[in-house]
């Protein structure tokens, strides 16, 4: 039975020894020395290299494919097409609309059509040129409004609702009445362009098929378990004969959380040829593979009282989904469901529609589905503040949701440090003396947000644990942790080490972590929805608390003392005074290690090493080990879709940004971001800060630099890291990570997420800062110099045409 125990927020042995410190990562030096193995670093004897032939058309029927010449080429071992892998898959069980290679038609430029395995990449590339595909081009839908208006021919045949991928309409309270009675209503349109993850590691997979019928796939995935299931389905191999391993992963951000064509292709080619097969995407292929942030067209109406209290929010959102469903069903819900904090909404309604288009499929990117509405709403809230002449931080304070409460859409909120996040950024940025008071061209803006810390609904409904771990306790003093969690750079393996060492009273080097290998590790659902620390952390504590009493008892009986007098400290077991008052000899900051002189030896107390304790326990109770698990409590609103967006805890963030705007060139420079984030408890503040800084950096880049788009033929506008501009060291603003700890009652020692929430406010905060700087409201992303200049011109024209000075919120 999966544990739903609340483990508490306190240190297990009196004072934290590891938690709360800026510790090294478990794999830091392996990465720093080049020893860490990523998927493309794998080379197997006799390994073939595979390449993908991709569609040059945005929408076309495939008339025929002729691979005979390619197959005759020297060095080519196999060519496969859609007919070899016809079974559909998709990350969500309800929308399995993808195939590994196109079957019958193609739906975006870059869609995989055929794959070649050859002795090397050169031969594979040469073979691709010899594959003849005859296409019958179809009308390409590149605009979501067009694909909603007409669907002949449809992008996906046989659907009742044309090119609608998903439609959600939910209402909470009487929004129309509330807005009718509001003292002020702001109504406007907002556009979020598309952006992509651009992890530096391109997707890669290696397939191996043994004569024993065991298929092994190494993949740069953040969802080993779902890839495992999808491989079984598509390849028609029983799941128990498939092993999926995620080697070290070079960044993901949501971009590696679908099953991808290459995983099926290397598996199939390995089975076909009897040779290991590797496929590494080029950077261009990564851009076409995409699954990035959905473009959204958003109309918001927000009503408030004269005092700035929100009375109603009404949103209509059209989402450009690209060619396939991916996580789109969830995205369509998230676009509305995740907006209902950190402010209390009296009434709320949203209507969101995801349209298929003939473009690379969109999916989840850091802050899945909620970054776009957050941008729109926080800009609107700022406009409300300026209209009502209320300070932008103050208006946010007046609408605080608070802790231990329920949102308008029925989500349970427990810990909530948002009020303190506002205090912290206000203080750190000297907001009170600077906002509204900087010289023209320089400004400050604020925004807030809330994000899920894990989601209570597994991707396929099942009653099994969402996170599970196993511990092996060795008589050498080593504990090996087996976890299905995907460390994608965020440090989940490190967190596992810290938590187990804390819980069992060991030194850090006594805990090693094996992760993301489906043969070795209990199932974990993967690195998405900011769930790893929260869920796996709880599962680890659960496992430790099952085995710890055995070891303590073995020692206590050996010493013939009460178990309460046995204490583990950094791998040494000491006998405490009777009654135990203080964690004896625990000097915070000490570096006690097994083998070193134990803290209490001088005092004449008894002690032994953890290894000796494990040996006593093993002699007494047999082989030592434990499993641990976590499942969320039952959560969510009591309506269809009410569980989507329900999380066991929520993180909260506030940003203040400072910008300068060059009115000659229209160029915005983000000078500094103050990031206050409520992560519950910072298990390792340095890693939390890294997540906060990385998130804020990505948000700033989405606002000012990045755009993922296609031209009128459906060709990517610039599928390279030169054209798709991600910031370098010199483009990145100063980032101040300010950690707020609310100590969540259900998180492991009180921890919540930190990897996604801190991205959200950056984008609206920049728009709001630009308003403070030069008096224009930017509502269409990205904020390019052209848009800034146009808005400045419009403002000037309006001012010239208006005899009276600008009204509230106008120029200064």
């Amino acid at each position: 039975m999966a544990s739903r125990d609340i483990h508490g927020i306190d240190a297990p042995w009196g004072a934290f020894r590891h938690v709360g410190r800026d510790l090294r990562k478990v794999d830091g030096l392996a990465k720093a020395t080049g020893a860490a193995m990523y998927t493309d670093d794998i080379a197997l004897p006799g390994m073939l290299h595979a390449k993908t032939l991709r569609s040059p058309h945005a929408h076309a029927r495939i008339r025929s494919i002729d691979a005979a010449d390619a197959l005759r080429l020297a060095g080519v071992h196999a060519v496969i097409t859609g007919e070899h892998l016809p079974v559909t898959y998709g990350i969500l069980p309800w929308t399995q609309d993808e195939t590994a290679l196109a079957v019958g038609k193609v739906r975006f430029v870059g869609e995989p059509v055929a794959a070649v395995a050859a002795v090397d990449e050169d031969a594979a590339n040469a073979a691709l040129k010899l594959i003849r595909v005859e296409y019958e081009p179809l009308h390409a839908y590149l605009d979501p409004f067009e694909s909603l208006a007409r669907h002949d021919p449809p992008i996906h045949e046989g659907r009742k609702d044309g090119n609608v991928s998903k439609h959600v309409h939910l209402a909470f309270g009487d929004v129309d009445a509330a807005l009718a009675e509001a003292d002020v209503v702001i109504e406007d349109d907002y556009v979020f362009h598309g952006t992509t993850h651009a992890a530096i590691e391109p997707h890669c997979a290696v397939g191996h098929y043994g004569a024993d019928g065991v298929l092994t796939v190494w993949s740069s995935t953040q969802i080993t378990h779902y890839v495992h299931r999808a491989l079984a389905r598509v390849l028609d191999v029983p799941a128990h004969r498939i092993r999926v391993i995620q080697p070290c992963l070079g960044g993901a951000f949501g971009g590696k959380s679908d099953p991808f064509s290459l995983e099926f292709v290397v598996a199939k080619l390995a089975m076909t040829t009897g040779r290991p097969v590797k496929m590494l995407y080029t950077r261009e292929e990564v851009f076409y593979t995409h699954r990035g942030r959905h473009p959204m067209h958003m109309r918001y109406r927000t009503g408030a009282t004269r005092e700035g209290r929100l009375v109603g929010v009404d949103a209509t959102i059209v989402i450009d989904g690209g060619a396939y469903s991916s996580y789109g069903l969830v995205t369509t819900y998230y676009a509305g469901q995740l907006l209902t904090g950190p402010y209390a909404f009296a009434t709320y309604r949203f209507d969101s529609t995801r349209a298929f288009t003939n473009k690379p499929p969109c999916g989840p990117k850091r802050g899945h589905g909620s970054v776009q509405p957050r941008f729109a709403f926080e800009v609107q809230l700022d406009e409300l503040a300026s209209t009502l002449e209320i300070d932008p931080i103050e208006i946010r304070r007046r609408n605080l949701l608070g802790e231990h409460t329920t949102t308008v859409n029925g989500q349970r909120i427990t810990s909530n440090g948002f009020a303190r996040c506002l205090d912290v950024v206000e203080h750190a940025s000297n907001w009170k003396t600077r906002h509204g008071q900087l010289p023209f061209g320089r400004g400050m803006g604020v925004a807030g947000s809330m994000y899920i810390s894990g989601t209570n609904y597994p991707i396929y409904p099942n009653p099994m644990p969402q996170a599970a771990v196993q511990l092996k306790i060795d008589r050498s003093g080593l504990v090996t942790v087996f976890t299905g969690a995907n460390d994608i750079g965020q440090g989940s393996n490190s967190i596992a080490q810290y938590l187990v060492a804390e819980e069992l009273g060991l030194a850090l080097d006594q805990v090693r972590v094996v992760s993301a290998d489906t043969d070795l590790c209990p199932v974990d659902l993967g690195a998405y929805s900011s769930r790893e620390t929260f869920m796996v952390g709880n599962a680890l504590i659960d496992a430790c608390r099952k085995v710890r009493p055995l070891v303590v008892r073995a020692v206590a009986d050996h010493w013939q003392v009460d178990p309460s007098r046995v204490r583990f400290v950094d791998g040494v077991v000491v006998e405490l005074d009777d009654p135990p008052l203080q964690p004896a000899g625990v000097a915070v900051g000490g570096e006690a290690r097994p083998g070193a002189s134990p803290p209490d030896a001088a005092a004449g107390r008894r002690w032994m090493t953890a290894a000796e304790a494990f040996q006593l326990a093993e002699a007494r109770f047999d082989t030592l080990g434990a499993t641990g698990a976590y499942n969320t409590p039952t959560l969510g609103g009591d309506y269809r879709g009410g569980t989507i967006g329900a999380a066991p805890a929520y993180s909260f963030t506030a940003h203040v940004v400072e910008v300068s705007v060059d009115v000659e060139t229209g160029r915005i420079t983000c000078e500094k971001v103050w990031i206050a984030h409520d992560c519950g408890r910072a298990l390792n503040p340095m890693l939390v800060a890294g997540q906060m800084e990385g998130s804020a950096y990505m948000g700033v880049a989405e606002a000012l630099m990045e755009a993922h788009g296609v031209n009128r033929f459906g060709l990517h506008a610039g599928p390279s890291l030169l054209d798709y501009r991600i910031p370098t060291t010199v483009d990145t603003p100063e980032l101040a990570a300010l950690i707020v700890e609310s100590l969540d009652p259900e998180g492991p020692y009180g921890a919540k997420e930190a990897g996604e929430g801190p991205l959200h406010p950056a984008i609206p905060a920049i728009s709001n800062a630009v308003f403070d700087a030069v008096g224009i409201r930017l509502k269409h992303l990205p904020f390019t110099p052209g848009k800034v200049l146009a808005a400045l011109r419009a403002r000037k024209d309006a001012a010239a045409g208006t005899p009276a000075p600008a009204l509230a919120g106008g120029a200064r």
Binding site: R24, K31, D41, G250, Y697, T732
Partner: protein
Amino acid sequence: MHLKVNGDVHDVDAPDHWTLLEVLRYRLGLTGSKQGCDKGDCGACTVLVDGEPMISCLILAREAEGREIVTIEGLWPLHLARGGEGPDPVQDAFDRYGALQCGFCQSGMILSARALLDRTPSPTDEEIARALSGNLCRCTGYTQILQAVQSIVARARGVEPPRRSWEAANVGRQAGER
């Protein structure tokens, strides 16, 4: 061809059009140099050629003949050979400062930093940022990377590195917390 990598001369056989990166990774098994783009855009493949950071995906392996190549795998052994202890101080500082998230950019980043410090032992913050501006990192927002390099410079100058934002602020901690 003969390539001198991390002090050893290797006799390698590879197609003429192979880049130095390909030979390092797929012939010599030195997979610490990463390929993020294969086009000279990301810097993940940076190695030191005669002490200068170079984009190894833009150099044909042949062009590197007769030159001293150092890859990320060479740093720690080189440091030991010079009488140092533990990993190269840059590697160690990156680890201690949280600069290594996914790590994919880091071999290039660390080598760029190493080359800067060899050239300019006491660079300004701006010089550090400029020296690393050819290495894209998608995870960290660069802050902890820059702090890692700054900490080495501070140590060399004999001063304390500046406190990091969360250490300095510590504002959010509740009373009674450590």
